[in-house]
Symmetry: D2
Subunit: 353 residues, 4 copies
């Protein structure tokens, strides 16, 4: 077993619920089991550039013994979405050396993990990655931290919107996150009782959407509908012109405009852009559980001298995958032939062609 003087941890990319629960697990295991010092690097690689760190200790953030890290969304370390790391690699490596870190655990999406992996190679760091993203598009892991909470948040929003859509016979267009992957839209649409789900991975036509809404009305007497649209669903529109238009006016608004134009009936469309509330919130029990398991396993990997691996969640427990293998397959998009897409169709949800 390896002996470390100082383990660093950072969070990178868009924040999500469960990051603090990972930090808590890493500190707990490193301190209690191995007796290491753990320091947080603020604002991802910017903290390395700035040579900044904050000590993290067990129960160090307690309020009368209550540990808020378990229930707080976001990250106490701060994060950045896009930095200038790649143009300042040597400075980052110098910062890492100056902080005298023996190893680093980085929590990020596939973009952040790729950069950190490159830095680890060049700087000969001992580095372990943990996947997080509400988009759930990191390969080789069933779930990334933050996804389950975001799906629950959107599902609850769909229930709210269903009540008001039904009261006023409206077609409610709900734009959710997902620039390249439609997992969020697909999972929450099925769980939340959507009538239509439009995602970047499956082409669709507005004419078919309108036909589906007309059938809901004519065959089943249902005069309202819920349409879930991933923000990146312009990618699967039929023509480049349409995609341009959709990007210009926002995906949700575009679908509303098109339905209003194409529908054989007059429809009262309203657009809801869920936005940042999808990133916030108290982490779900599952996200906290996965956070604990992945955080614990990452520390064990460090202790075993391993590097450039990602801890993954597969079939109810933590596994280890080489980062190169993960990055070669990421981002991981929705397979149009998958069980869940077929499930959506079995429920009568239009999901494209």
């Amino acid at each position: 077993m390896k002996t470390l003087e100082r383990l660093g941890i950072l969070t990178s990319g868009g924040d999500c619920p469960g990051l603090n629960a990972v930090i808590r697990a890493v500190v707990s295991h490193a301190v209690l089991t191995y007796g290491w010092h753990v320091v947080g690097i603020p604002y991802a690689t910017r903290g390395l550039l700035d040579r900044a760190m904050m000590p993290l200790s067990l129960h160090g953030l307690d309020l009368k013994g209550i540990d808020p890290l378990l229930t707080m969304g976001g990250t106490i370390l701060g994060s950045i979405n896009k930095g200038d790391t790649l143009s300042r690699i040597q400075e980052v490596l110098d910062g890492y050396a100056a902080l005298e870190l023996d190893a680093l655990i980085g929590i990020g999406g596939d973009g952040s993990l790729a950069i950190l992996n490159q830095l680890a190679t060049q700087g000969n760091w001992q580095f372990i990655g943990i996947p997080k993203t509400i988009d759930n598009d990191v390969a080789c892991t069933e779930r990334a931290i933050g996804f389950d909470t975001a799906v629950n948040t959107i599902t609850e929003a769909l229930t709210r919107l269903t009540f008001t859509a039904a009261s006023h016979d409206r077609v409610m267009i709900v734009e959710v996150m997902g620039r390249e992957a439609g997992h969020l839209a697909l999972h929450s649409g099925i769980a939340g009782g959507a009538d239509v789900i439009l995602i970047p991975e499956i082409s669709y036509s507005i004419a078919q959407v309108c036909q589906h809404l007309a059938e809901l009305r004519d065959r089943w007497g249902r005069r309202f509908a819920i349409v879930v649209v991933a923000e990146g669903a312009h990618r699967s529109l039929e023509s480049a012109n349409q995609s341009c238009e959709a990007i210009k006016c926002g995906m949700g608004q575009y679908v509303a405009n098109e339905i209003a134009t194409c529908s054989p009936y007059p429809v009262d469309c309203r657009v809801s852009v869920l936005g940042h509330i999808q990133r916030g919130g108290i982490p779900s029990a599952l996200d906290r559980l996965i956070a604990a398991s992945l955080g614990k396993t990452a520390v064990d990997l460090i202790a075993n001298g391993e590097s450039q691996k990602m801890v993954a969640w597969q079939n109810g427990h933590a596994e280890t995958v080489p980062l190169d293998a993960v990055l070669a397959k990421s981002p991981c998009s929705v397979d149009p032939a998958s069980d869940l897409v077929q499930t959506a169709r079995a429920l009568g949800i239009y999901t494209g062609k």
Copy 2:
């Protein structure tokens, strides 16, 4: 005590949580205590024009004995926001007569109650009104149905947004409902820990907002902020030009643009428009309690032969007020000298000049 053959009930204006709980209470009391028949008029006055009604009976909507009316947001009767009632008064009166209603209970905001009151006068209807609006701007009642749930919904959204704003050092601009009244923004901003609350009733300057944000940062080291803006806060901008601009690009986006321009520091502003999720949701316990009390009292007033009254919620119980008195004072806006505005300021929240 009066004997009725048929009591009508309708919901009018924008929907909100708690309407179904009122319907449930009215049906229950009318059937169990008085033995009347109750019919629902679909889609407010449009149902009268269409001479449509649906019978409502106790436990009539049960699913294995579970009454979903208590927990469902929206209204099973449907509603309309703006109709052509005023240009078709005689037809509405004829429809009412054709449906052979002995009395009517109408649930609506101040606009709907005014129209229904006028119809009741001209048609000599026995009519009782019940106030509902998430804006809480009906006069003579401490609370309208739907307000408490909407405040809870926004407050929870603010908590979510705080986590992500803090993780990325952002200024999060949150646009909430309230075209003319700022009650929603004020209550949820205080409860949700806002730093700035901008409402239609109190003038403010973006320069002061920026100064406040700078003080948060310089004096307290706080690098993020939550700014709650009522959608109608353009009314209290300093110039007509500014108002025009704010209406054009949306109140939240306008504030974000202005802060980005005026701030002495670079700030990363993000806008969240909460939209229709504010109208949805399972009604809070308080909204259900008030719904039960007001629904019950409205039925008693009908039984006592009263008309053109509104049932109000004052200091923990139902009271009765003449509709004329209510309408003379509505809409009821935020008093800039009120206890709550002073409370916001005591908490260090900027609320305007």
Copy 3:
């Protein structure tokens, strides 16, 4: 306006959600508006005996700028339920003097406020009280802090229990808090769709309960039921023997046993004792709003040189009442002739004779 060197604050009696929100408001207003120092006295009067205090400063408990006090239930100051204050009055007074407090704000139920008022009289303290109790039985205030959250918690539990009761055709007996007052049972029972509500203030008979359950079944085809029982409902049983028996086996279990014995049909009764989860939880928006308003007003009263007053919540804003007047009327129980009891009956809920 008075100038203070040091303002003390303590929480006393059973904890509830919203206490930390009061502390936050008091500190904020005292520091920002008046420039005072505020210290917390830990564990109510025990802290005075121990001459202990903790400094409280604005944003002093921040986690990356997030103030957890707004969303944390309980009290960071700690509390005690029953102490030996009354037998050690001089020591408490000496402790107060030793801490060099200029004034004290105490948050408590009617028992705690009575003791603190007595101490203030004997010690010539400047003292302002703020009412808190999930039982809502402090007189002269429409609401005490914690009540709204507890009602929401119980109402949500009733919804959960309704699903499982209906699935198995069970009579679910739900024991809720309320040793002397039935406000919690009454409010949550109405909001949560109970069939029977048994409280300390209204006598009832198990035979009538069974008759009511039989009618639900025979007349409405409803084969399950929800019975909400206040833990102190043994007070309104018909005989001293029954009360003894109920105290011995627990109120919920007693009702279950009696129904099983008296019912003309075989019924499958299950008992749920909600217990301490009623005290916990994130405070509701309304509890946070009231906490802010009462905390702010208490500080203003101190600044104005007032003492031995309680700040109360009446009809949507803070008011001031002499503590003697409050204590003379407390505890404030449910009036059997009140609007809400009649509302429960209008909904077909059995609430006693």
Copy 4:
């Protein structure tokens, strides 16, 4: 592809959230994709004995188009926990024949699935099983329906209890469901920040529990604790005498008594028995998603002529397993060497020897 006239569906054993979501998915897929008739058998096998059935049609339970099945806990078909099926097998088989069912989908735990599998063998039924149980102890599936919701419910209760435990420096003993398997206690204890988790599968000593609590206090200054105890944790007590005592007074109360006796410090223990609220509640997004996928897959298996299989959830999608294989390995208990038990220990949670 097989053509059916009539597909039956029943729910058996203790209810849980998500059952109605399965029913909804089965009806939707059978009607929309295959054009079959679907009937519900009320109260599990009792419905077969009674030769009772209820037609289930798409959107048949709509309230203004809103389908409450997605958000309702429990089962609209009703269920029974223990019946006399095994002593009346021929009558059940006769009932099945009388109802002229072509195939049956049964949702149940391992006990119910075993009985239904036996009936299917003897009666030559075409039968597909779907696993549900908040205990999550059905083998060959990562998750049974209801588990995720129950874990979230308990986790939220632990947060509530933490606030009040911390305010009063109490040791809160929380008894959760789990007669033979500790999955619920383990998952929710990790997610909810427990200090001690006691389950049927791992032996423990109260002396070690007390030592752990003392260390929390002495080493970390933490004066409260959360102890999660599975109701069946008497199985892993050290002696038969202790087990008897624990069964007699209830597992939670037993642990409280023992801690109070053994602790070197005076501790204020309180017991919370969560009881039936663990079974209730709106299903989580994940439970709804799994319900949709398993329900859809079960219908496809029927269409393909398969029988005596169970649909399982493995690594994010539905799979098929022979019921014999499932039953041979059920109930599936917590492996003391598993990743999650080690994770709990890494977080400093005492989980037994």
